[in-house]
């Protein structure tokens, strides 16, 4: 056991798992928040180590260009969110929305979720990944319902039903992939290992692969929140604790999409299989347009940004559906930027909801006057999410639209229209939230804004300069994605 | 030598314009009076008026600003400069490269701008009426004028008046429908610009009719004199413009001798007489129209100009 990479991988998985158990038993309800952040920080360090030491792929775990960046991103956002959640949850405790027992439960679940997501990212085995995604779903279901208000329970119930059906479909797809692989690779774990699948997919039975991809797209697509499978997403974001909304939008959606991507690689490695592009493009475009119009009639601020997440997942799916080095690269970039930006937005939204005591946008006005830092943070976040420069999302959207327009003008125009409609809605609401005569109660915001601005600054920096190794990985992955 | 001659001609032209203008006004009034079976004032009456006004003291409203006091001189100067650039009895004037037809129109525009501002300066209702109507008229008269300029200069291949009149004397200009239209249009514009009947009546202070008079209502003494002089120069300018474009006969062109100059002078005065007479006749036989029908009148002029410009291509491709 001398390979440092293997150690790091174990660390990335075991730190959250063990700290989950620890936090479940930890008595002091104040320190748990900090402990939670600490655990997340350690996980992040371990994951960052993977940049430098890469273990050889085992039967169950793998670290390659595809997942290394996402793992680090995942642990990083996990850490910042835990910092945010520490102050957020403390406030929830003060106003008595949560009892200490539930708080303990919450932190345990948080770490479990981190464990599940890391596992899903690092899994080298389709079955294992499926189990991990399912576990992640379960934990989030529990957290969404944690306030136990009727609305929260209803949201969790909806999430549960739709999520489980999605899980079932994904499992069937996974089984089909195995059946396809078994005929070539032979029985056993190899027939479920990524590296093997991608390597040998050329000789799989195309029909099975197609069928499998349909189920996987729908199954994991439900988790991604693509319309028309999105229904659980807005309510889950709106009713759960804000840190969970941040993790949902910023990470869980990415993880699900990541699963879809893995399978897309397998498919695109097989010449006879149908090109998955058209399906993904269609679903992506539907999601973008649908979400864009849904944004206009929102009253609840968190639900609105949830819809914006649907829109962006649509954009990303669209990009990968278009394929080609440019679009794929852009899609990967967009995944990264979106998870950073959207979680930052949810951080600010969480603070806003706490200082204003409401999530109804009609009661929130003139934030830049009453809470300059918070207000301008929100402005910056929204400007980023609608794709205005110099923030990173502009770069990815630039690449997606231009590269599409050269090949499929009609699609690009439709996408651009969707982007514009969404921008219209978000900026319209932003005008009301951040500007104008202040309205509603304004308690001073005591929480720390470091995580929010850290994310935004990262996106800003990435919009101007991308580190070379990241580019190299993404370009390699883009090639694999075909 | 040539330079001196040019300077001389230019100077003569300047003085001529300055001196003839009031005479022309007086002449037109006189003819009109005769047509109405009145004796009418003597020809030199305008000069007398000017001198009398110049000697009088000026009465200015309390809240008149410097604009009000400067405007008359600006108006006079711009009009005079414009007039001195229109070939009267000789082309190829020294200063003619300074401004072509378009620039001359624009110069008159500057004069009007100053006049309209002066009308607004005191802040009386009448001044406002005058200015706003003047600008409305101008907003149609100027484009009409420019379309005519287009027609002529598209034909002559130049906006330089000397070249234009030279071309008009030349053989290749035949009888053209465009030119006829341009002429009619130019006359209509001239009528409007000089506040003559039927657009405006230079001899009344009735609110319904007055445009030009309303603007200068507050003026008195030397200011009024300068403005009146500018008005008469403007009239002269338009007549000589018509003459130099559409009746360029006998105009002295550069390089001809003094005899030609004399001929030019004589023919020029003759043209003025004829023009003035026609104007007087026209004014006596037509009635003043409502202010808001002026737009139709000038709209017609604009259409004529545009048609003339377009018909050029049809009649013969250039």
């Amino acid at each position: 056991m001398t390979d440092p990479g293997a150690l790091l991988v174990r660390a990335v998985l075991l730190i959250p798992a063990s700290s989950a158990a620890l936090l479940a038993l930890f008595p002091d309800d104040r320190a748990t928040g900090r402990l939670n952040a600490l655990a997340a920080l350690l996980t992040f360090f371990a994951a960052a180590g993977l940049f430098f030491f890469r273990p050889a792929p085992s039967a169950f775990l793998i670290v390659d260009d595809v997942n290394v960046a996402f793992t680090v991103l995942n642990t990083f956002v996990g850490f910042t969110t835990s910092v945010f959640s520490a102050s957020y949850i403390a406030h929830e405790l003060d106003i008595g929305r949560l009892t200490p027992v539930y708080l303990r439960f919450y932190h345990a679940m948080y770490q479990t979720l981190m464990f599940a997501m890391n596992l899903a990212l690092l899994a080298n085995n389709v079955g294992l990944m499926w189990v991990a995604v399912e576990l992640a779903t379960l934990t989030t279901i529990l957290m969404v319902g944690i306030y136990r208000t009727p609305a929260a329970l209803e949201a969790a119930w909806k999430y549960f039903i739709l999520g489980s059906v999605g899980i079932a479909l994904a499992l069937f797809g996974t089984i089909l992939v195995y059946v396809a692989a078994r005929a070539v690779v032979g029985e056993g774990l190899d027939a479920m290992a990524w590296n093997v699948l991608v390597a040998r997919a050329g000789s799989f039975d195309p029909t099975l692969l197609n069928l499998a991809f349909v189920f996987l797209l729908l199954g994991y697509g439900t988790k991604v929140g693509l319309a028309p499978l999105h229904a659980w997403l807005p309510d889950a974001h709106a009713e759960g604790p804000t840190p969970i909304s941040a993790v949902l939008s910023g990470l869980l959606l990415n993880v699900a999409l990541f699963a879809v991507l893995r399978f897309k690689m397998v498919l695109s490695a097989n010449p006879q299989a149908l090109a998955p592009g058209p399906l993904m493009v269609t679903m992506g475009l539907i999601s973008v347009l649908f979400a864009a119009f849904m944004l206009y009639r929102r009253h609840d601020i968190k639900r609105m940004f949830a819809y914006s997440s649907i829109e962006h997942m649509g954009i990303i799916t669209f990009a990968f559906g278009m394929g080609g080095p440019l679009a794929n690269f852009a899609g990967l970039l967009h995944m990264t930027y979106h998870s950073l930006t959207k979680s930052a937005i949810f951080f600010s939204v969480g603070h806003i909801a706490q200082v204003k005591g409401t999530q109804t946008m009609a009661d929130i006005r003139g934030l830049t006057v009453t809470h300059p830092v918070l207000g301008w943070g929100l402005v910056l976040g929204v400007m980023t999410i609608v794709g205005l420069p110099p923030m990173g999302i502009f770069m990815s959207e630039f690449l997606i639209v231009t590269s599409t327009f050269a090949r499929q003008p009609a699609l690009a125009v439709a996408l651009a229209a969707g982007l514009l409609v969404a921008l219209g809605a978000l900026v319209l609401r932003l005008n009301g939230l951040a500007f104008g005569e202040p309205r509603g109660r304004n308690a001073p915001a005591e929480a720390s804004f470091v995580p929010m601005f850290a994310h935004l600054m990262l996106v800003l920096a990435a919009g101007i300069y991308l580190p070379a190794p990241l580019v190299a990985w993404f370009q390699h992955v883009a090639k694999l994605l075909g | 030598m040539a330079l001196i001659l040019d300077a001389l001609v230019q100077g003569v032209q300047l003085l001529l314009v300055l001196l003839l203008a009031p005479l022309l006004t007086g002449y037109v009034r006189r003819v009109k009076a005769h047509l109405l079976r009145r004796r009418g004032p003597p020809l030199v009456q305008p000069y007398r008026d000017l001198l009398k006004l110049i000697r009088k003291e000026v009465v200015i409203a309390e809240n008149a600003s410097w604009v009000f006091r400067v405007a008359p001189y600006i108006i006079f100067a711009t009009t005079l400069v414009a007039a001195s650039l229109v070939p009267t009895f000789a082309t190829g004037l020294m200063f003619s490269p300074a401004a072509d037809l378009i620039a001359i129109v624009a110069l008159l525009g500057s004069a009007r701008f100053a006049l309209a501002l002066a009308g607004l300066d005191v802040g009386t209702s009448f001044g406002g009426i005058g200015s706003s109507r003047e600008m409305m008229i101008a907003s149609l008269a100027e484009p009409a004028m420019l379309m005519i300029v287009f027609t002529v200069s598209l034909l002559a291949g130049s906006t330089q008046l000397s070249s234009v009149s030279a071309f008009m004397q030349g053989p290749e200009v035949g009888l053209r429908v465009s030119l006829a239209m341009a002429l009619v249009g130019l006359i209509m514009v001239a009528i409007a610009e000089n506040a003559r009947i039927p657009v405006d009546n230079p001899a009344t202070h009735l609110e319904l009719t007055m445009v030009h008079e309303a603007m200068i209502l507050e003026y008195s003494g030397r200011h009024l004199a300068v403005i009146e002089a500018a008005a008469s120069i403007k009239l002269l300018l338009y007549l000589s413009l018509v003459a130099c474009i559409f009746a360029p006969w006998g105009v002295h062109t550069a390089g001809q001798g003094f005899a030609a100059l004399a001929v030019g002078l004589v023919t020029y005065v003759a043209k003025l007489a004829a023009g003035g007479f026609l104007l007087a006749v026209f004014e006596t036989v037509t009635a003043k129209m409502r202010v808001f029908r002026v737009s139709e009148f000038l709209g017609a002029a604009l259409m004529l100009g545009l048609l003339a410009a377009l018909l050029l291509f049809v009649s013969r491709s250039i």
């Binding site: 229904a231 500007f435 | 309390e62 624009a106 330089q160 030397r222």
Partner: protein
């Protein structure tokens, strides 16, 4: 070298804006920020001006390893960008100078100071960008910075709406430019301008690109019907920013169009010229008509920006048409006219906005119906505004006239075009140009008269005081420029020679060594103009007359009440207002252009209430293009919103349907 200077100026500007974020509250922040901006734009002006005057043919380039990884950020400084950099930095210079004084009255400096330098930097960068990504990045950055400035006074509901529409239209424009560059770059995605120049697009592609560029750049420049945001946003910003947006940012948009249409896009087709020409003519006339209907001073100025953009595009359209027929010297003339007008408009429009800003600070009013008589209390501002008005009304001897005169000369060359459509179109557009010029004169008589002349209509106008020295300095710099560019146009035209050489491969004959500085664009016998001579003649004549009369006749003056034809009325309400001034013109044009309807309610005999007069104007452009979009979005939003309240079973049904449909697709596939 020059490029290095420019970029370092930009860097300083950006640093300033970052530094201004925390420092904005401090009282010293305002002068410091504007001072830095002033110095940077001075540096930029010097550098760009040097390039332009020397007419350096070898473009100066620089690459930075940021932005798109495999592309990097490319900057390039050629004659075209140098020209526009001169415009940009001149505007920035005067605006910063003005800001030194005007900024002191800013209620919320925290919302202006950080964004002002960023805005300047953005405009500089757009002009310098040498690849599609950098261009669009900086382009949108510029929009974003100006949006923030528009939102500076956000408590006013109209401003918030203005900012919203502005950002929406800006993004719309950027998206269409995005698509244009997408077409130019091709699926390979080589976004460098070098590669784009090298490529030869098919006619269909280049037509599409031109249309998209026209939409994208036009929406920023304010071409009708994409202008709606402009008269809302420009007045909403602080006045020196309005000056920048109107005078300079629209020019950056023009630059974008010129760069694409003349430089990147290869040889044009003749109908491009026709299209641009028509758009320009319509824009010019509609812009000035809209302006005439306004009584908000700054909005009036904004609409005049629309008009002047139209004039500029007329010149560009002619240049395209001539170039398409390979009449290079004619194209050079038209292009010179357009670019010279770009410069001129930036000068006098900034001047006018500064004037309106001075009025705003002195009275707190933008509505001309509440002003009047200011020339007595603000004589210097009044004088500056008067010069600006004369210049924008294209009156000799000021600069506005020269560029319009050149445009007319270019139009007069249209017979040499082979296409009949252009033959007919050009004179018609000439008529429109003349109409807009005449209407502009009327409009500025109204604006100046209602604001500065007559008697004060309100107590605030009564109590106005002359503005501060910095603002006046900024204004008088521009006044001088208006005059100099008017009387010595030759030098300016020669400065444009290198640009026309670069874009259409020809240039006008050198002007500055002609006799008496006359300008002769084509030939002596054809047309010539000498602003200097005219100016001197007018001055001398006026002075002479005045002197003679005062010397030998009378110079006595008596002040007394106004005569007003015998029945003067002391109430200032009896003066002509801007609305009543415009009434005759509204009667003539309004019924067509705005469906103008006037309602008069006269009290019957014995009724005590006052008579009422109401005018209804409808913005047909909005009704035709924007209202439908608005309602369509609302329609879809409402319809789709029902999905939010479905039952879980319904959602499951959707999932089920998706599964079944996809499976069917699969079966069909085989």
């Amino acid at each position: 070298m020059a490029l290095t200077v420019l970029l370092s100026c930009v860097a300083v500007l950006l640093a300033t804006s970052v530094a201004a974020v925390p420092a904005a509250r401090a009282s010293a922040a305002t002068p410091l920020v504007y001072m830095f901006a002033l110095l940077c734009s001075a540096g930029g002006l010097a550098a760009a001006g040097a390039v332009l005057v020397t007419g350096a043919t070898a473009a100066d380039t620089m690459d930075l390893p940021i932005g798109l990884p495999w592309l990097g950020v490319h900057f390039r400084l050629d004659c075209l960008s140098a020209l526009f950099l001169v415009v940009v930095n001149l505007g920035s210079l005067t605006a910063s100078l003005y800001g030194l004084g005007y900024g002191r009255h800013e209620p919320a400096p925290g919302r202006v100071l950080p964004f002002f330098p960023a805005f300047l930097a953005g405009m500089n960068l757009v002009v310098l960008a040498d690849d599609a990504f950098t261009f669009l990045l900086t382009w949108e950055f510029m929009s974003l910075a100006s949006w923030a400035l528009v939102m500076a006074h956000h408590r006013d509901r109209d401003n918030a709406r203005a900012g919203y529409i502005y950002l929406l239209m800006a993004s719309f424009g950027t998206l269409s430019l995005l698509l244009a560059f997408g077409l130019l770059a091709g699926p390979g995605g080589d976004y460098g301008f070098e590669a784009i120049r090298a490529a030869t697009p098919t006619p269909a592609v280049s037509a599409a690109v031109l249309t998209l560029a026209l939409i994208g750049a036009g929406s920023k420049a304010g071409l009708v019907p994409l202008h709606v945001w402009l008269p809302l946003a420009h007045p909403a910003a602080p006045s020196h920013v309005s000056a920048l947006m109107s005078g300079v940012m629209t020019k950056v948009a023009v630059y974008g169009f010129v760069r694409i249409a003349f430089d990147l896009l290869g040889p044009p087709a003749w109908w491009w010229g026709a299209a641009v020409l028509t758009l320009g003519g319509i824009t010019a006339v509609l812009g000035v008509l809209y302006a005439l209907m306004q009584h908000d001073l700054k909005r009036l100025l904004a609409y005049h920006t629309v008009e002047n953009i139209g004039i500029i595009f007329i010149g560009l359209g002619l240049a395209l048409a001539f170039r398409a027929n390979d009449l290079r010297w004619a194209a050079a003339l038209a292009l010179t006219a357009a670019l010279f007008h770009v410069f001129n408009h930036s000068v006098f429009k900034s001047l006018l906005f500064f004037g309106s800003g001075a009025v705003l600070t002195a009275t707190g009013e933008r509505d001309m119906e509440h002003l009047g008589g200011l020339i007595h209390r603000m004589p210097l501002t009044g004088f500056a505004f008067l010069v600006g008005s004369a210049a924008i009304s294209a009156l000799p001897p000021f600069n506005g006239f020269v560029s319009e005169w050149l445009t007319f000369q270019a139009i007069l060359l249209s017979p040499s075009l082979p296409q009949w459509m252009l033959k007919f179109l050009a004179p018609a557009v000439g008529g429109m140009l003349a109409l807009s010029a005449a209407l502009a004169a009327g409009c500025f008589v109204k604006a100046f008269g209602a604001t500065f002349l007559g008697r004060p209509r309100t107590s605030v106008a009564q109590a106005a005081r002359e503005t501060d020295a910095f603002s006046l300095a900024a204004m008088f710099v521009l006044v001088l420029l208006c005059l100099i560019a008017g009387v010595l146009p030759g030098y300016f035209m020669d400065a444009l020679a290198s640009v026309t050489q670069q874009l259409v491969g020809a240039q006008l004959p050198l002007q500055q060594d002609l006799r008496w500085l006359t300008i002769v664009p084509i030939a002596e016998a054809r047309s010539s103009y000498n602003g200097l001579l005219l100016f001197l003649l007018i001055a001398v004549a006026a002075w002479l007359v005045a002197y003679v009369i005062h010397r030998w006749a009378s110079h006595a003056i008596r002040r007394s009440a106004a005569w007003d034809c015998g029945f003067p009325d002391p109430s200032p309400a009896t003066q002509y207002t801007s609305g009543s001034f415009a009434q005759p013109i509204r009667r003539v044009f309004g019924s067509v252009a705005f469906r103008a309807r006037e309602e008069v309610q006269m009290p019957l005999p014995g009724e005590m209430h006052a008579a009422r007069f109401r005018v209804q104007l409808r913005d047909l452009v909005w009704d035709a293009f924007y209202a439908p979009v608005e309602s369509a979005v609302a329609f879809f939003a409402d319809r789709l919103n029902k999905v939010q309240t479905w039952t879980i079973r319904a959602y499951l049904t959707m999932v089920f349907a998706a599964v079944v449909v996809l499976l069917m697709v699969l079966t069909v596939w085989h």
